[in-house]
Subunit: 213 residues, 2 copies
DNA sequence: CCCTAGCTAGCCAAATTTGACTACTGACCG
DNA sequence: CGGTCAGTAGTCAAATTTGGCTAGCTAGGG
């Protein structure tokens, strides 16, 4: 799956109550339009879909304060909060090589308690190591490497990526264990949303850091 | 974009003429169902779409030799071959952090000449370096790092991934420059498709190496 | 005062992707 | 000889994603 649901749930949750454009603006503030599929269409679609599924509660609201069609405000439900934490835990653990998924989870990881975040990240490392083992055993058959020609570079690439991912995750674990950041239940949380009327310093038109072609 | 079009074009091209199930089987042989979105629906859709766009030529063929509905055979056109090389060059160069795209390109890179492959990979490294520079400048503002709290880990992760990607690409460049593999115009090419009736040694049910959750 | 540009807010059609499903054949089992 | 299991070949509806479009306001220039 993509990161969009976690991002949208997280944005709504941090606001308490938010309309589509607010979510869209937050995601842009986070740079999510650069590293994930957070485009307007996807965001509005996710909001509607999750409202239909009972993860969000939709309030019909009067015509917007400034132009455009009337807007709908969303609130996260009990079920939506559960889903939020389920996705967060899953994305922090799962090694599925889609960087957007981990990126979104990193942004929200402090909603968990420090101990749990550490556990999940360790599970992540174990997952990567297991995967790496499976791949190398699978792809280094009886007649030794080299038999595969340039196709061997594919495995080479995947193994290298896995190793880098594991190494980086171990570094993060060390930093968190060393006391970095403020996790759930440890005091003033870090706030990362824009209030109504606040200007977005990272609006579009700044250096792209999503794709470089 | 996803890797599916390059994969399908590449499979049809290596066969000369292929029906959907043959392509599907090749992609499975390459493990593509594990590391890309190469599912039956996507494959058949891509074939039809590309036929409609003139990249493939569709021949209506009698009921299949063994069960199932009548099948359609496809042949790559001039235009399709152009598209194939365009995509191949693009995916070898573009740093868009979707591993499936680079993976597919690695599988086909030997269809280029050695010198061109080297150039493209060097371009890739330059792209990664430029991107890395943009990100760090953008995200390390006046008041120094650390101001960002745990959000800084996102940049940290992206920069680390970029560095790993660049390092690996440099390694590949060295190996290719050192004479590894057989590129276009250098003799017997490496063949990686299944002939009609040949058994697929990597059929489904083997260790998954796409996602680990 | 009119016109345009730019922002606000969201919608929509088309393309793609997903995950399940159909239908037909041949082989093997008892 | 009937049942069912595996393999062949592909279709389909639903969900999602893409990329661009609409429409209401407001500020400012001429």
């Amino acid at each position: 799956m993509s990161a969009i649901r976690l991002l949208v749930l997280g944005a709504v949750r941090q606001h308490g109550r938010a309309h589509g454009y607010q979510v869209r603006n937050d995601l842009e503030y986070w740079g999510a339009h650069e590293w994930s599929n957070a485009k307007p269409g996807s965001i509005y679609h996710a909001l509607k879909q999750m409202a239909k599924q009972g993860l969000l509660l939709a309030h019909e609201i009067a015509p917007s304060t400034a132009g455009g069609p009337p807007r709908v405000e969303y609130e996260i439900t009990e079920k939506g909060t559960e889903e939020y934490f389920t996705l967060l835990r899953e994305y922090l653990t799962a090694y599925d090589q889609r960087p957007d998924v981990l990126t979104a989870a990193l942004g929200f990881m402090v909603d968990l308690e420090r101990a749990e975040a550490l556990e999940l990240l360790q599970e992540r490392v174990r997952g990567i190591e297991g995967w790496r083992k499976a791949v190398t055993e699978y792809y280094t058959p009886e007649d030794g490497p080299g038999r595969l020609g340039h196709i061997g570079e594919i495995m080479n690439f995947w193994v290298d990526s896995a190793d880098s991912g594991a190494r980086w995750t171990r570094g993060l674990i060390e930093r968190i264990r060393g006391g970095a950041y403020t996790f759930a239940g440890e005091g003033e949380p870090f706030v990362g949303v824009l209030e109504e009327g606040q200007e977005n310093p990272y609006a579009t038109g700044r250096p792209h850091w999503g794709d470089a072609h």
